[in-house]
């Protein structure tokens, strides 16, 4: 696996894990977007958007929805 592919795979795992763990009760996509916006770099967010665009099947639906909310 190349380094870039490996990095993408890690971002997918991280994003899905966030969606799976945010507190219950709130809107999951918004919480995921807020968390990623607060803790991820711009480059990581851009990579996630690219992944969501081309390989959205790897991402939970809430993450795909969250990507649309990212600045």
């Amino acid at each position: 696996m190349s380094g870039v592919v490996e990095q993408d795979a890690r971002l997918v795992v991280m994003a899905n894990q966030i969606a799976n763990n945010v507190p219950v009760g709130g809107e999951v996509p918004q919480q995921v977007a807020d968390h990623i916006g607060k803790f991820w770099t711009g480059a990581m967010r851009a990579d996630l958007k690219r992944i969501a665009e081309h390989s959205s099947d790897q991402l939970r639906q809430e993450v795909v929805a969250a990507v649309a909310l990212l600045a």
Partner: protein
Amino acid sequence: MTVYERDLGTPAVSAETQVSLTIDGMPITVPEGTSIMRAAALVNAAIPKLCATDSLEAFGSCRLCLVEIEGRPGTPASCTTPCQEGMTVNTQTPRLDKLRKGVMELYISDHPLDCLTCSANGDCELQDMAGAVGLREVRYSDEGENHLSAGKDESNPYFTFDASKCIVCSRCVRACSEVQGTFALTIAGRGFGSEVSTAKGTDFLASDCVSCGACVQACPTATLQEKSVIDRGVPSRKVKTTCAYCGVGCSFTAELRGDELVRMVPDKQGGANAGHSCVKGRFAWGYANHEDRITEPMIRDSIDDEWRVVGWEEAIQFAADRLKKIQADHGIDAIGGITSSRCTNEEVYVVQKMVRAAFGTNNVDTCARVCHSPTGYGLKQTFGTSAGTQDFASVQDADAILVIGANPTDAHPVFGSRMKRRLREGAELIVIDPRAIDLVRSPHIGAQHHLQLRPGTNVAVVNAMAHVVVTEGWVAEEFVNERCDVESFKAWERFIALPENSPEALEETTGVPAAAVREAAETYAKAGNGAIYYGLGVTEHSQGSTMVMAMANLAMATGNIGRPGVGVNPLRGQNNVQGSCDMGSFPHEFAGYRHVSDDSARALFDSAWGVSLRGEPGMRIPNMLDAAVAGKFRGLYVQGEDIAQSDPNIHHVEAALKAMDCVIVQDLFLNETARFAHIFLPGTSFLEKDGTFTNAERRINRVRPVVPPLSGMSEWGVTCAISEAMGYPMPYADAAEIMDEIAALTPTFAGVSFALLDEVGSVQWPCNGEAPMGTPVMHEQRFVRGEGQFVTTPYVPTDERSTRRYPLLLTTGRILSQYNVGAQTRRTENTVWHAEDILDIHAADAEARGVADGDWIEISSRVGSTRMRARLSDEIPAGVVYTTFHHPVSGTNVITTDNSDWATNCPEYKVTAVEVRPSMGAGL
């Protein structure tokens, strides 16, 4: 010149009632219950004594401290006689002189008269007292029965026990019991045959002794004596400083003879340790002068080249040129830095400032990423700030102590002793841990509840406890209504009351019987003062942050926040984890935990630093490593950290380091990470540093230079030089000036200065206009965030599960004698207790694999394998194995995975699915 502290004979007493008396004609008023001995010492009418010392309860055995009290018959012992209103005490009378002389004569008649060549000459209370009572002759010959030929036990690497010099005052035995709580020593025999012995009757090394040094500290003669004093002589000067091992942050007096360190003595005035110590801080400082120390800068073009020793100027310019070239070729964000929790606040602060201001990126992270980053996240969400709630002394007021994923007697031993003292006094103990840690069953202590859960199910267990609290109606409603966000409480209450969170529903998942969870919940909720203490067994999980919030929920729901004896208390792993986090080491936060996107905070730093800072987070350590493997991240400044041994999935870490064009390591030794470095900058040991550490209770302590830096430069000075070579000067005159800048930019540190710390010893932040002398207990009137925030904490199983291929779960931890990756302790005599990492395995699992005690085994996970010896242990349940990570040769983190906490990326060190097989030996 004396370097020794004044000893008032018996401990201080606190009482509302005061009593006034007269001692040798001098009036004094003291708290009721104060001994005559202590009161006399306070008016400088010191009474001769041998068995008394103010770190131990009065014993009344030596009969030297006798006094006369007007209107009372006899000559009572002043150490055991309390002051009373109107008393008139005489400490010097002809009758007392005669009695004391007689007593001393008997002691000396059975003591070697080798004072001039004795290692304690000048530091011997027996010698002092012989002088104080005016003893001029001994009428008894040494021909009668005596102990003068008793043997000497030299088995302990750090101190000797010379029975011929023992006066059987029991101070060592009492110190081991009262202060340390190990009960390793006793008085064997009776009458004239009484002698100090280990409880097992063995030598010290084979005994239960944990080498904390309390007995050596207490000994009034040369019976228990540091080998360093025997070798080097008694000290002639002292410097107060702070230990650089665990997050307890003990205060010590470094005692020197000239410029040579003779011993480290725990400081009785130390806010964190109150005169106690552990084997690491007391004795394991020899690494500071170890032959492996690198004291000259080194560079090399490629990691395949040999190191070339160069001067500071060349090394700094080489580093700056490489970093600038990387940024020119690959962009501003292609470099970053990692700060160290072993360095001072001032050293950490300048590194993160250099990264943000000189590098122009927020790619700065700290080793707290791999330990307590979930604490920062979870406590900020719920309470409003990223720190524990109490001071260590608070445990003395706890009625129920809940220890989760921590092993205080090994990892935070001085606090562990304080906790054990409270437990012996009657506080109840709940332990939530897969392992039966020492606290579960040790002398005079036993956990009322040990919830021996499956690794990875912390959240399920604490949710189940909270479920019981809510459904049984044990919520502290007044506290919740007055102090917490009620809406968030109601949402949490509905969530936690769901049947899926009941102990019965989760019993199969956690492996903990539902009844045991219910009983533990009742103990915690109904105790009065319930205190939570936790460690890396909480944070180093895929739900580490969730678990921190779950504990905060439980504490708030039961009203256990905001007063002594309660709270949520992280036991920090390294000495300055709290400080390195406070100083703005996280990529998303400036000093004082203000997010980089906060315009007002950023404007403050922009103005002070004269730059325009970035408003979006930088990369965390794992992000940096992933980006390095992807070729996007090319340069890293690593301050005092060994990520190639301490971080998970070592193969991945090594691949990342190999892929970089410039790795700068600033450290004492050529550590594992230095194998991949291009520039090595020699660091300073804690004995050479000038600055501050902040311990787990937010206590800011001074670290004072005991000796000059061996490399000739301070670490902060080196960082500033690189920054200047990068084009951004940071011209500080000294470390105090750095703290002044921190205080000016960080509201919680606004009142902190070296001058204040030198005056009062230490302060706990927040220390500012509202709390000029600091804040021992947080959230007393209101939470930092205003109202306490409840957060729903659904249990989500980790992806790391046992399988047919990897049926066992590995969990990792520390041992008392070693510290973290062992870079320091492996270079001391502490290796006598732990020379290698060993795998603890349950007898049933061992038998099923044909493994016997002491056998070499191979342990494999999905990411790697390593070999070590096995030890059959009943401290862990079947299905779980345990080891430490102190030795690079065993490479425990070769097998830990890159799973991490969902919110912070703190690695999931505590759960790795593995298989164990017999192996022929150490080689792979």
